[in-house]
């Protein structure tokens, strides 16, 4: 398990990666209907 310090250090990078991934997936799903 990662340490508490690592958990704190990676909190925002992880959230950023998750948000960016979800946004791209949603864009990919919506694109056929928009285009």
């Amino acid at each position: 398990m990662t340490s508490h310090t690592e958990e704190r250090a990676y909190r925002w990078p992880r959230r950023y990666v998750f948000a960016a991934t979800v946004v791209l997936i949603v864009a990919l799903l919506v694109l056929p209907f928009v285009a």
Binding site: M1, Y10, P13, R14, R15, V17, T21, L24
Partner: protein, 510 residues
């Protein structure tokens, strides 16, 4: 009667076939939909758990990047390994969720063939199994696309982060080069490419050898204790406690290296030539200019403050300085804050004994970092000059006269070592300082000519002027005048010595 039975049988058969026709495809379609959507959803749930929610029951990642031995005690930058480990972790957590989905499906299919109503549920099981297989294939494909998108985000982010780190590192190095900041350790005399820093965390004693942008952080890094640190001198890392990064030295560099250009100024010459006294008079002169508001000179570290605090008092009292220890010297560090910028002076005052012996001179590797040198010569130590002095003056000056061998020897020895260390003398400057001008008088005229004719040091004068790009000869009196100011000869020497490094000392125009 049998007609009724036949009709019922036909009816039931038709109904069952109709049921099969509807139920099997319906079960297959529902099952397909569940697995085609369930797998990507399971992956996304896993991703959310690993990257966002981090619930307490989250299984530990099976792979996690390990720090190489000897690495700094800092937390790895997320995109230098942990992000890929997280991707692997998310796939494993998603797979566990999918496994639960498959187990539930398999159980339902099995039950459909073993229950009391298996004639009815069996076809549903067949349809479900077919749909499950097809849905798993479709779901796996969609999940793969999702995973690729995740890896794409990680990859592009890692590329951007690493490129930013490289650029910032380059900009920081370029700015140091433009500002002509080249750092030297005052203890081990090695070039310091970048200072090591102590963690600023309360109670933390960890040291970070290289804080520059890289695997431990781009703009900031986090110590293993949790404290954050700046990664660049540009971003204020010089305000942290600095240390020499060289193994075996690792001494504290209190003078905040990296903030300003450093000027390495070595004094050399025979034992008792007056090097220490000259250094003390220069420090006192700087303090007097500070008092007059013409510049600000402050001791760069506590060791310098301890040793040089008494400079003014010693000079004022006229007391002799204590002989310099033959141990390797450490630089006296003085921060010079001028209108046109700040400079860090590193003044090296080694014992004269070190300049008669090759092995001992070789240890003075700071000589290779200097571009201006100060050779101090005691005119009284020159036998020819001493002999021509009247007996009463000899009696009066005997106690202050250097008993060291000829000043030529210290010069030749040091000059050869400086060259052997790879210093281009054709690009270096030398100040030849004849000390004790207060005792022997300061006649006007050309000092070099005086040294040749009066002291008989023509060879030394020729040699120094040939070897160095620029050589200037001074006569100095490291004493205070009656008004308490340092003799003007010291200021004249300092102005010439520091002029090349862009230091515009007071009185330069006059």
């Amino acid at each position: 009667m049998w007609l009724i039975y036949l009709a019922v049988f036909i009816f039931l058969a038709v109904a069952y076939v109709t049921y099969l026709t509807v139920a099997v495809p319906a079960a297959a379609m529902v099952s397909f939909a569940i697995y085609a959507a369930g797998m990507p959803i399971a992956y996304l749930v896993g991703l959310e758990k690993v990257l966002a929610a981090r619930p307490p029951g989250l299984p530990a990642p099976q792979r996690w990047p390990k720090q190489p031995p000897g690495a700094d005690p800092a937390v790895l930058e997320y995109f230098y390994g942990p992000a890929i480990a997280d991707a692997d972790h998310a796939v494993r957590v998603g797979r566990d969720h999918c496994q639960a989905l498959w187990d539930a499906g398999a159980k339902a299919v099995r039950q459909s063939f073993t229950g009391k109503n298996r004639k009815l549920t069996g076809p549903l099981g067949v349809g479900g199994a077919v749909g499950m297989a097809a849905g798993t294939a479709a779901g796996a494909l969609v999940t793969l696309v999702f995973a690729v998108i995740h890896l794409l985000v990680v990859g592009v982010s890692a590329l951007v982060i690493r490129a930013t780190g490289t650029v910032l590192r380059g900009v920081d190095s370029a700015l140091l080069a433009v500002k002509n900041v080249r750092m030297v350790c005052p203890y081990c005399f090695e070039r310091v490419p970048y200072p090591a820093y102590a963690c600023p965390g309360h109670g933390c004693t960890r040291r970070h050898r290289d804080v520059r942008p890289g695997r431990f952080g781009i703009l900031r890094r986090r110590c293993q204790c949790g404290a954050e640190m700046s990664t660049l001198l540009l971003l204020g890392s010089s305000h942290m406690a600095a240390y020499c990064p060289h193994p075996g030295c690792e001494r504290s560099l209190e003078h905040r290296p990296g903030e300003a250009p450093e000027i390495v100024l070595p004094f050399f010459g025979a034992t008792g030539a007056g090097k220490t006294r000259l250094l003390l008079s220069m420090v006192t002169q700087l303090h007097q200019w500070t008092g007059q508001g013409k510049l600000t000179a402050e001791f760069g570290d506590s060791a310098t403050a301890r040793e040089l605090n008494i400079a003014g008092h010693l000079l004022r009292s006229g007391q002799s300085t204590v002989g310099t220890s033959v141990n390797l010297p450490r630089a006296h560090v003085i921060r010079l804050i001028l209108k046109r910028g700040t400079r860090i002076l590193q003044l090296y005052d080694a014992a004269g004994e070190r300049f008669y012996n090759t092995d001992r001179t070789q240890e003075l590797t700071y000589l290779s970092k200097a571009r201006t040198f100060i050779l101090v010569v005691d005119p009284l130590s020159v036998e020819a000059f001493w002999r021509q002095l009247p007996a009463d003056r000899q009696a009066r000056l005997g106690s202050v006269r250097s008993a060291a061998p000829s000043p030529d020897l210290a010069y030749q020895q040091t000059h050869q070592q400086i060259e052997a260390m790879g210093v281009e003398l054709s690009r270096s400057r030398l100040a030849v300082v004849f000390s004790r001008a207060d005792l022997i008088g300061i006649p006007g005229g050309d000092v070099a000519a005086w040294a040749g004719s009066e002291l008989g040091l023509g060879n030394l004068v020729r040699s120094t002027s040939q070897n160095f790009r620029e050589t200037r000869y001074f006569r100095t009196a490291a004493v205070m005048d009656s008004d308490g100011s340092v003799h003007e000869s010291v200021a004249a020497l300092m102005r010439w010595v520091l002029a090349r490094d862009g230091v515009d000392l007071p009185g330069a125009a006059s």
